[in-house]
Each structure stands twice: as structure tokens, then as C-alpha cells.
């Protein structure tokens, strides 16, 4: 196990190296002079020269890359051109917002998806099974931004159940401590605000969670069906164990590994995919942060934002693999 962990960590190095090259290259792949493109057509020669100096564009390429790497290793993600403040400090509140949304979405997706999958496998070929699998099929085929728009229309504008955008009530903003508003409101002892924040989370969370929910439900179902055919299930049933216990305790325990893998992989995917949901619901997350940077040609923010998300994505995938090998003693490395 330890040897495997070390090997996986070592394998991570070339990937991280490659990732840094890709994000480093972004600014050089822009057709034309990057400084001129960032500043627009009306920029003076002096302003362009200044920006080139600031970004280090006038130095040889390998020195620029070494600077880039050494800055990254020291936790310096560069400076935003638009706001002129360090990206690392700007990024955290956005990252926290995205984390909060992703965690909520994955909780929703996992709880509903796993149970729907289990019941589908249990009552195979029943009306519930058909319905759940049709919903799951539609779920993976639907554009998430369209689902978000439909939710806004029905649940916010027509029914008025949930607010259609933002994270909190702008007239009564949450005092930021950790960046996770659900926690911050509790720390401040504001139960009323906690409910407001929770209400804001519901629609974007469900929109973001729908695709993983569908994938998790299908995975759980097929994994459960496989386990339910095995001999030990027949033995447990022969002992007269209640069906519910057979399914949820004995069968699911053995079907959980592929499900866990999917949950992990989907969590990583959501971090990047949240950009669409964040756009629809004006959620101030990191996807939104990167997207706005594209609009203002704030390339350092684009580079660092993408690198940070990809870094988290890679770490999550690594953790999934490690957990996978840890919980299944049958897998040997």
C-alpha cells in the first residue's frame, strides 16, 4: 500500500509538470503580441512595454518558465491585470463558493443516485426501475445550463419557492469567515441567514448534481445486479435474513467500490463543469471568476484559475485511486 502510494505520487510529478507547461503556454499561444491584445487597440507603446515588463514577457522563454514555476512553488499565483491584486487571495472566496456548491451537489447526487440505483436493482424490471433508468438517461443527455434555466423559470419565477441567483441576501450579506457560507452563518449564530443561504444552494446544487446523480444511479444499479447474482447472497437469503438487510448491508457493501469511484471522478468533473451552473445562477465561484477573466482578457487569472482547478482535479482522482485500493483488499498492487 505504501509502495503503491509512493509510486502514484511519483507518477504525479510528470503530470503536474505537463500541466504547468500547458497553463504557462496559454499566454504565448495567443496569436499576436499578448500585451497588446490584453490592453486593446488603443494602448500606448509605453503601456504595452510596461505590461511586458510586469509579466516578464521581454525575458528569454526558459527564464520566464523558471520564474513561473518558482513563483508557483512559493504559492504565488501571479497578479490580476484587471484588479491589480494577488490572484491567490482573490481566488480563495471563489474556490470556497465552488466547493460549497460542489459538495452540496454531490451529496444530493450520491444520496438520490445510490438509493435509486439500489431500488432499481432490487426491483429489477419494475415500473420504478424503468422510470428511474429513463430519468437517468434523460439526466445524462440534458444540457446542465438548460436544466438550470428551466428550474429558474418553474421554481423561482412561477412558484417563487427559491431565489434564482446569488449566494445570500445582498441586503443582509454573510460575514465571511471560512468562505463556506453554511458554516459562516452558523459560526455567527445566524440561523435565519443559514436558511437563506441553504435556499440559495438548492437550485444550483440540484442543477449541478443531476448529471452525476444519473451516472451514479446507473453505476449503482449495474454493480448491484452483478453482486445480487453471487452465491453468498443466496446463502444470506437462505439463512432467512430480511430482504432489506440483504440488499443494503450484504449486497451494497460489495457493490460500493465502482460506485465510490464514480462519485470521486464526478466530484472532480463538477469542479470544472460548475462554470455553466455558476453562470446561470450568478454563483460567485471559481468558474465564474475564470469566465469573467476571459471576457476582460485577464490572462494571469485564466492561467492560474485553470491550473488550480486542474490541480484539485488531479488530487481528487489520486485520492479516489488510493481509497479504492485501500478499501478493497482483493486489489493487489
Amino acid at each position: 500500500m505504501l509502495a503503491y502510494t509512493i509510486r502514484r505520487l511519483l507518477l504525479l510529478i510528470p503530470v503536474l509538470f505537463g500541466m504547468s507547461i500547458v497553463t504557462f503556454a496559454i499566454i504565448y499561444l495567443i496569436p499576436g503580441n499578448p500585451a497588446r491584445i490584453i490592453l486593446g487597440d488603443h494602448a500606448t507603446e509605453k503601456a504595452i512595454a510596461n505590461l511586458e515588463e510586469q509579466l516578464g514577457l521581454n525575458k528569454p522563454l526558459y527564464i520566464q518558465y523558471l520564474n513561473y514555476i518558482s513563483n508557483l512553488l512559493r504559492g504565488d499565483l501571479g497578479t490580476s491585470i484587471r484588479t491589480n491584486s494577488p490572484i491567490a487571495s482573490e481566488l480563495w472566496p471563489h474556490l470556497a463558493a465552488t466547493f460549497e456548491l460542489t459538495i452540496f451537489a454531490m451529496l444530493f447526487a450520491t444520496i438520490i443516485g445510490v438509493n435509486a440505483g439500489i431500488i432499481s436493482a432490487w426491483k429489477k424490471n419494475s415500473w420504478f426501475d424503468y422510470l428511474a433508468m429513463i430519468v437517468a438517461l434523460i439526466g445524462v443527455s440534458m444540457p446542465v445550463f438548460w436544466l438550470g434555466l428551466m428550474q429558474q423559470w418553474i421554481f423561482s419565477q412561477e412558484l417563487g419557492w427559491f431565489p434564482s441567483f446569488g449566494r445570500d441576501n445582498p441586503r443582509d450579506p454573510v460575514q465571511m469567515i471560512t468562505g463556506f457560507y453554511l458554516i459562516d452563518t452558523l459560526l455567527a449564530g445566524r440561523i435565519d441567514q443559514f436558511w437563506t443561504v441553504l435556499k440559495h444552494l438548492v437550485m444550483p446544487g440540484i442543477a449541478l448534481g443531476t448529471i452525476p446523480m444519473a451516472i451514479i444511479a446507473r453505476m449503482t444499479r449495474s454493480s448491484m445486479l452483478e453482486v445480487l447474482q453471487s452465491d453468498f447472497i443466496r446463502t444470506v437469503e437462505a439463512k432467512g435474513t430480511r430482504k432489506f438487510v440483504v440488499i443494503y448491508k450484504h449486497a451494497f457493501k460489495n457493490a460500493v467500490i465502482p460506485v465510490l469511484t464514480v462519485v470521486g471522478l464526478q466530484t472532480g468533473t463538477l469542479l470544472g463543469g460548475a462554470i455553466l451552473t455558476e453562470t446561470i445562477f450568478s454563483w460567485p465561484g471559481v468558474g465564474r471568476y475564470i469566465f469573467e477573466a476571459i471576457g476582460t482578457r485577464d490572462y494571469p487569472v485564466i492561467q492560474s484559475g485553470i491550473l488550480v482547478i486542474a490541480f484539485i482535479f488531479v488530487i481528487i482522482n489520486l485520492l479516489v485511486d488510493l481509497i479504492y485500493s485501500y478499501i478493497d483488499p482483493r486489489i493487489k498492487y
Binding site: G18, S141, V144, I215, T261, I275
Partner: protein, 305 residues
Amino acid sequence: MERELSTDQSVMPKTPIPEQPDDTVVSPWREAFWQLKKNKLAVFGAFIIIFFVLVAIIAPFIAPYGYDELHAGERLTGPSTQNWFGTDDLGRDIFTRIVYGARISLFVGFFSVTGALVMGTLLGVIAGFFGRWIDLLISRIFDVLLAFPSILLAIAIVAILGPSLQNALLAIAIINIPIFGRLVRSRVLSIREEEYILAAKALGMKNSRILFHHILPNSVAPIIVQATLSFGSAILEAAALGFLGLGAQPPTPEWGKMLSDARQYIQTAPWTVLFPGLSIMLVVLGFNLLGDGLRDALDPKMKNM
């Protein structure tokens, strides 16, 4: 990830396998086709795709108006006999724009998947067949590309190249290359160890001949399955880029762009948002159903389960 999309066989009611004449040799492709025809969901998916392809081909004949034809007096009017799906904020007929939009979505889907398939297969074959440092290099490049969440990578590529339909197509092709590449590489690696390859080598067959006569034909089935599923996701990705304003530019009737243009009218004119979204969903559903069915039909391990 391999199995999550393959669960539909058991959703289908079991039908008895028709008696096949014993003395005729059935090619695996024909057998797979029989298998596919029995899968009602897959057939339904194929019909959806054929329907959209036909709509895309004959678009000018069924569209009642031009896709950028403005009717200033008929802004945001609801569905009616003149405008089946209503009109948008500029008085353009939404039905017409959806019909033309099918062309764009299928165009982007087809060319991005074909591009990814060709490049991915090429790189995968090179990596798997030649091994050593070439394999190491190509595999690491795939790892790096897959380390970025795909939609984010597509956004980054379009941010570099500038927003347009062509660049969106290119970005979607690039993010799909490692998916095909890894698939082909693993097929090549496993087939290379088969005994009949050893036999072919012992008979003095050249590498290139082994590649084209044995390895590639045996890799076709999983590539077809992946291409079908990728077609659906490519359409979703193109719509997402269009929605973010990074894909097709106005007045191109791209479905994702139509959705983002219509967002602000959702309360007063929900049909402007409803129909483009339904079209995306339906065509993607078609590819997912067919892809699942193909996987069940072509993957021998799933057969007769």
C-alpha cells in the same frame, strides 16, 4: 467509467433469441446488427438520429422562413400556426432556427469526433505498437490533457484562439483525442499479445501488415461505441461553449447560443428557452441510446446477459 453507460440491456424486456440456421457462418458484424435490432431503446435512438440528420439535410425545404429573417412586428410571440415554436426577441421564427441549428450541431459533432478519432487512433496506435519512449511520451501527454476537466480545457483553448464555431469545434476535437487515444492504445497492447499475432510474426508478416490486417480491424468495435457516445457529448460541449458566447457567433442559429440569447425573456416568453433545450436533449439522448445499444451488441462480454 467503463460500465456506467452499459446498463440498458437489462432494462429491456428479455426477448428470446431467434433461431439462427446452424450451417451458415454468421459474421460477427451481422450478429451484432441482429443484437442491436432487438434492443428497442437503441433502435429508438437510431431513429432520433436519422430524424435529425434528415431535418438537417432538408432544412431549407421545411423551414418556413430564413434563419436570420427579422419580423419586427412579431417579437416574442407565442407558438401559433404561423410560428410553431414562437418567435424570439428579434421576431425570428424559432422553428426555422432550430431546424438550421440541427445542421450546426451535427456538423460540429461529426467533425470534432472524426478529428479526435483520427488523431487519437493514430497516436494510440503509435504508442501501443512502438512502445518504449514514444509510448511514454504520448501516454504522458494524454495524462496531462485528461488532468484538466474537459469543458475547462475547451474554454481555455477557445480563450486563446478567440471565440468562433471553428475554434469551438477544434477545442472539442482536442479534448476528445486522449479518450480515443487511450482506448486504441489499450486495444493494441492487448491484441499484440495474442497468439495469432505471434503466428503472423513467425510467418514473416511485416509490422504494417499486422497493424492493418489484424490490430486495427479488431479495434474497430470499441472505437465505434466510443465515437457514438462522444458524438452526443460533443454536441453538449458545443452547446455549452455557444451558451458561454465562446462558440458560434450571431446570427448563426446555434442551439446553445439561442439559449443564452433567450435567457432574459424566460419569464415572458418561456418557449424561446424551451425548444432549443429540448432539441439538444433529444439528439444527445439519441446518441446515448444508440451508443449503449452498440456497446451491448459489440462487446462480447455483455452478450446474452
